[in-house]
């Protein structure tokens, strides 16, 4: 068990070290997040008086698009440098490789969310940080990175991988986006969500189902 954690952290730290050296994904998601939030700010006539509903939509639309850009960059590098093929030759369970990629993407997504929340606070003069959003972030990131890793590996083998990844990923994670938006809306408005428990159970259910199903299917697609 201890060995497994060590392998998991080793593979993930490899991704993070590569990123620290190239800074390609971080620079891309920073600029993209700033761009998306600033476009919403510029097109809004009174950014300080934004409704909670629209605010939550802006935050999660920015996260989804900057996240999918980060994912396609991440997996196109893996494909170009054939690093995934090299990792697959390691004598470790294939599920551990899947989990390590999820962990790497989880970290990139968290960085992207911190940037977006920071930019949102400045441009819209509002503080989205609340117990709601702090609950949403880990659940959303786990589900999003799990589905993203699966489809990222599939689409990296195809033509137009960026478009394909977004097309495959976004419709599947719609329930997670709804969950995140609904709870962020409650956090922004300060009004307790009456369906808080239902949304929370939905988010957790999504993560469990997709983590189990995609871990099982990951071996099947890697065989191909």
């Amino acid at each position: 068990m201890k060995n497994w954690v060590k392998i998991l952290l080793t593979i993930s730290s490899k991704d993070l070290i590569i990123e620290l050296k190239s800074k390609e994904i971080i620079v891309t998601i920073t600029l993209f997040s700033l761009l998306v939030v600033s476009i919403f700010s510029v097109t809004s006539s009174n950014p300080s008086n934004l409704s909670a509903e629209i605010g939550a939509g802006i935050i999660w639309a920015s996260v989804v698009f900057s996240g999918s850009i980060a994912m396609s960059k991440f997996f196109s590098h893996e494909e170009k440098d054939e690093t995934l093929n090299a990792i697959l030759l390691m004598p470790v369970p294939i599920e551990l490789i899947f989990f390590s990629k999820i962990l790497s993407l989880f970290i990139f997504l968290t960085i992207s969310e911190c940037l977006i929340i920071g930019a949102f606070s400045i441009f819209f003069n509002s503080n989205p940080l609340s117990i709601y959003i702090l609950t949403v972030i880990p659940i959303f990131n786990l589900g999003f990175s799990c589905v993203g890793t699966f489809f990222g590996i599939i689409s990296s083998k195809s033509r137009s991988n960026e478009i394909l990844l977004t097309l495959l990923l976004v419709p599947i994670v719609i329930p997670l986006i709804m969950f995140a938006t609904e709870l962020t809306k409650a956090g922004l408005s300060g009004i307790h969500s009456p369906n808080f428990n239902l949304w929370l159970s939905l988010g957790i259910l999504f993560d469990i189902i997709f983590l189990v199903v995609l871990t099982f299917l990951f071996g099947k697609i890697i065989d191909q």
């Binding site: 195809s158 719609i174 969950f179 609904e182 939905l202 259910l205 199903v213």
Partner: protein, 221 residues
């Protein structure tokens, strides 16, 4: 021979349903002429629902048996299903504006239908972008299964979100007594039969096209 008989029966029922919609069936009192759109909307919603379930079943069969027949059938069903979904969504939008006062609402059935439509569009885009071969067919089948697994979660999420869609009053899912007159029910069922026959016919033709295309690719390679 069978094809000619099938086309004749299907064509005759389609013509009969058109006559019923425009001439025979009485106009509904509350919604007026707009209600007639439902004779197109409901059958196509049924066809797209059948297509989605059938794609999931045929994909599973392909993964289990590895027979190309199931993969070709799955692709044909998805293609015809996506077209049915476009007709369903468009007719629903046109009906909703005069009746609900809005073109679109975030209601559970609408949201689920739209997202499933997008998932199956992505499935077809994937099949076009990925290099042809066994790997593509197997991954496409996996994507279709993921779409099928996701659909109840989408429906559940959308249901918590908002509820506004009229309840089913006809068929096994009916939750309340039908307020439709017997002529309306007969017209609706005739339209469902016409669209189902048309759907099966088009899937059949499409299956043959897909199979021939697959055979041609194998011969070239």
């Amino acid at each position: 021979m069978f094809r000619n008989i099938y086309l004749t029966i299907s064509g005759a029922i389609t013509l009969l349903s058109i006559w019923m919609i425009f001439i025979w069936v009485p106009t509904e009192v509350n919604q007026g002429l707009v209600q007639r759109i439902l004779y197109v909307h409901v059958p196509f919603a049924w066809a797209s629902m059948v297509a989605i379930i059938a794609v999931a079943i045929t994909s599973l069969m392909f993964l289990v048996t590895k027979k190309i027949f199931w993969d070709n059938l799955s692709q044909s069903l998805a293609e015809v299903g996506v077209v049915s979904a476009i007709v369903m969504l468009f007719s629903g939008i046109v009906w909703a504006k005069p009746v609900w006062g809005v073109w679109w609402t975030g209601e559970a059935k609408l949201t689920t239908a739209l997202i499933l439509f997008l998932i199956y569009c992505a499935y077809l885009v994937f099949r076009n972008y990925f290099p042809p071969g066994d790997a593509r067919n197997r991954i496409a089948a996996i994507i279709a299964l993921i779409g099928a697994i996701d659909s109840p979660i989408i429906y559940y999420a959308a249901q918590i979100w908002q509820q506004n869609h009229p309840q089913a009053v006809v068929g096994p899912l009916a939750t309340q007594d039908s307020s439709l007159s017997s002529e309306m029910v007969i017209t609706l069922l005739t339209c469902v039969l016409a669209v189902t026959l048309m759907f099966v016919g088009i899937v059949w033709v499409q299956y043959k096209t897909v199979s021939r295309k697959g055979l041609k690719n194998v011969q070239i390679s």
